[in-house]
């Protein structure tokens, strides 16, 4: 590699106090910009689209959601008799793809924050933007927008295809359309955002992903094996508030009649994510980078 000579902008050295500053030293010809959240957002947008893991996780996510969503619709359409689908919500067959796809959203969410700790990039990031809360906020906004948009587009595609394929099922109401597309997409994006926040708290990709997969699956699996009568209430609560069941509430197909209904799952995850976010900001301010 050849050794280039440094080519500094040829500004006349200013040894006197710079305008507006009582300290002597060099004054750059580059215009000084007062940084704000917009700059941090632009930076995080470049970051998220310039690593391959984003394309991989989102690519697999879209494949799972659309692939499984369409396959389920086709399978049901091929096997269902005249009366089988009567009264069924055709949007509900999008559930399986989203449930599997949530693993990808969790992974991408965690990587958005935790990978910076793994690589050491976080020190560069925090030097460029010393306001730590602003960094986390920018990451959260960029990630949430990406996750919501990708989920909404995939969910809409599956919903239109399934409704078209399953002519025997009833026509979903406007409210059901809203919940089955925008509602689940908001829920998925918030689940990913919670993972991002956990990644910032744990600072370790594999650890944070493990925790989030555990949060996703453990309550349901544990409840499955609670045979004792005396644990019935706990079992019921674990079922009802498990993430897969909350996801299915958006299609009005809950495992039980009690527990969260309507838009409840969205308010629950919003509350949990907001609390975790506040905790993450407090920890970020307190800890060394």
């Amino acid at each position: 590699m050849s050794t280039p000579q440094p080519q500094m902008p040829q500004a006349a050295p200013n040894w006197q106090a710079a305008p507006g500053s009582s300290y002597p030293g060099y004054t750059s010809p580059i215009p000084v910009t007062r940084t704000h959240l917009g700059h941090a957002l632009a930076s995080e947008w470049t970051k998220i689209k310039s690593v391959r893991s984003t394309m991989w996780t989102l690519g697999v996510f879209v494949l799972l959601v659309i692939g499984i969503g369409l396959a389920t619709g086709a399978l049901v359409s091929a096997n269902a008799g005249e009366q089988d689908l009567a009264g069924e919500n055709p949007l509900s067959f999008g559930f399986f793809g989203l449930l599997l796809g949530s693993m990808c959203v969790i992974t991408l969410g965690v990587l958005t924050t935790a990978s910076e700790y793994g690589t050491g990039m976080i020190r560069t990031t925090m030097t460029a933007c010393p306001s730590r809360g602003r960094v986390l906020a920018a990451k959260a906004i960029v990630f949430f927008s990406v996750a919501f948009t990708v989920t909404l587009v995939s969910a809409l595609l599956v919903a239109f295809a399934d409704v078209a394929m399953l002519g025997d099922a009833r026509e979903p109401s406007g409210g059901e359309w809203l919940k089955g597309t925008v509602g689940v997409s908001l829920y998925m994006a918030l689940l990913g955002l919670l993972s991002l926040v956990v990644g910032s708290i744990i600072r370790h990709s594999a650890g944070a992903i493990t925790i989030m997969i555990g949060v996703l699956l453990a309550p349901l699996v544990i409840a499955l094996f609670m045979f004792s009568e005396s644990l019935e209430k706990v079992r019921q609560a674990l079922f009802e508030y498990s993430i897969p069941n909350q996801l299915s509430v958006f299609y009005s197909t809950s495992l039980t009649d009690s527990g969260p209904s309507g838009w409840d799952p969205l308010w629950i995850i919003l509350g949990v994510t907001a609390a975790a976010f506040a905790g993450a900001v407090a920890l970020l301010e307190k800890r060394d980078v």
Binding site: M1, T3, P6, G25, H39, S53, E116, G120, A128, C129
Partner: protein, 316 residues
């Protein structure tokens, strides 16, 4: 100008940085010297607001780093060559930094050209050698054309040509009136670049002096003598009023450049000399003497003392 006052960082029982007070001035290269584990990197991280001081404070032209509204255009830093995401290309790494501070996109191409990475700008950083990573880190520091620059061990991993280049770069940056603060554990490197010297050991300030003063004070010249007739030579030299130091393993040392005088005295008394050589103590030796007490990680040439298992990495 960077001002440190009573800066202290404690990790549990261990004091990493102990009550440091010094000022880094504009228009010159200030070398920050200390053995491994002396607290150089911790100090630099506190200057950048990455680590919170246990006590004391750092002021950048009177402000805390967090209060800078335009951090990259005010102060550029190379912390370590690997403080980047390996999956991102050199160009995109610099682009996201530029965007975070509202710096124009064309500046990215300029600094890539300055550090000589234009040809590999679109390559992923994880394929870079240590030297190339170091150059990318330096590009990041120069991005905002800042008035204060900080480099942590910049010559690490660079080839001789690269080392020559970085020396020239630091001097020219300082000549433009910028504040340049460079850490190193190599005295010889600092002797060639720094105008001012701050030496620390085990987190404590050992010296804060101009380079010229340090050289004048610490470059001792002496004469080394070996002779089979040691006792007689000692008598002769004492008789001539010359102070001799016995350094063990059969050699004698005399301060100052008196080799001609000693040779003539030996000839007069018909003494056999096996060696009579003028010596110059290197700055490296002066630095080692200064920090000898405070070197944390000694290499033991004799039998290694048994250490509890895991002691090493716990301190890392």
């Amino acid at each position: 100008m960077i001002e440190l006052e009573g800066l202290t960082k404690r990790y549990g029982e261990k004091v990493a940085v102990n009550n440091l007070t010094f000022t880094v001035r504009p228009g010159m290269v200030t070398g920050f010297l200390g053995p491994n584990g002396a607290g150089k990197s911790t100090t630099m991280r506190m200057m950048l607001g990455l680590d919170r001081p246990t006590a004391g404070h750092v002021r950048i032209d009177g402000k805390r780093y967090e209060q800078l509204k335009d951090p990259l255009t005010y102060m550029g830093a190379l912390l370590d060559a690997k403080a980047m995401h390996g999956g991102r290309s050199a160009y995109n790494h610099l682009l996201c930094l530029a965007q975070s501070n509202g710096i124009a996109r064309k500046r990215v191409d300029e600094v890539l050209d300055t550090v000589g990475l234009t040809a590999v700008a679109r390559k992923k950083a994880k394929g870079f050698s240590l030297g190339m990573g170091q150059r990318l880190g330096i590009a990041g520091a120069l991005l905002g054309d800042p008035r204060i620059l900080m480099f942590d061990e910049p010559v690490n991993g660079l080839d001789p040509e690269g080392i020559h280049w970085i020396r020239h770069l630091m001097k020219s940056l300082a000549a433009q009136g910028r504040t340049v603060f460079v850490s190193s554990h190599l005295m010889s490197e600092m002797a060639l670049t720094a105008d001012h010297l701050v030496v620390i050991g085990q987190g404590r300030l050992l010296a804060d002096t101009s380079m010229a003063d340090f050289i004048a004070r610490n470059s001792r010249s002496y004469v080394r003598i070996r002779t089979p007739q040691r006792e007689r030579l000692l008598d002769v030299l004492h008789g001539a009023g010359i102070t001799v130091v016995e350094t063990g393993n059969g050699t004698l040392e005399v301060d100052g450049g008196k080799s001609e005088l000693i040779g003539e005295l030996a000839a007069q008394h018909q003494l056999v000399l096996h060696e009579l050589s003028p010596q110059q103590a290197s700055l490296e030796e002066a630095f080692m003497q200064l920090t000898a007490e405070s070197v944390e990680y000694h290499a033991h040439t004799d039998a290694p003392a048994p250490r509890p298992w895991g002691d090493d990495w716990k301190r890392g």
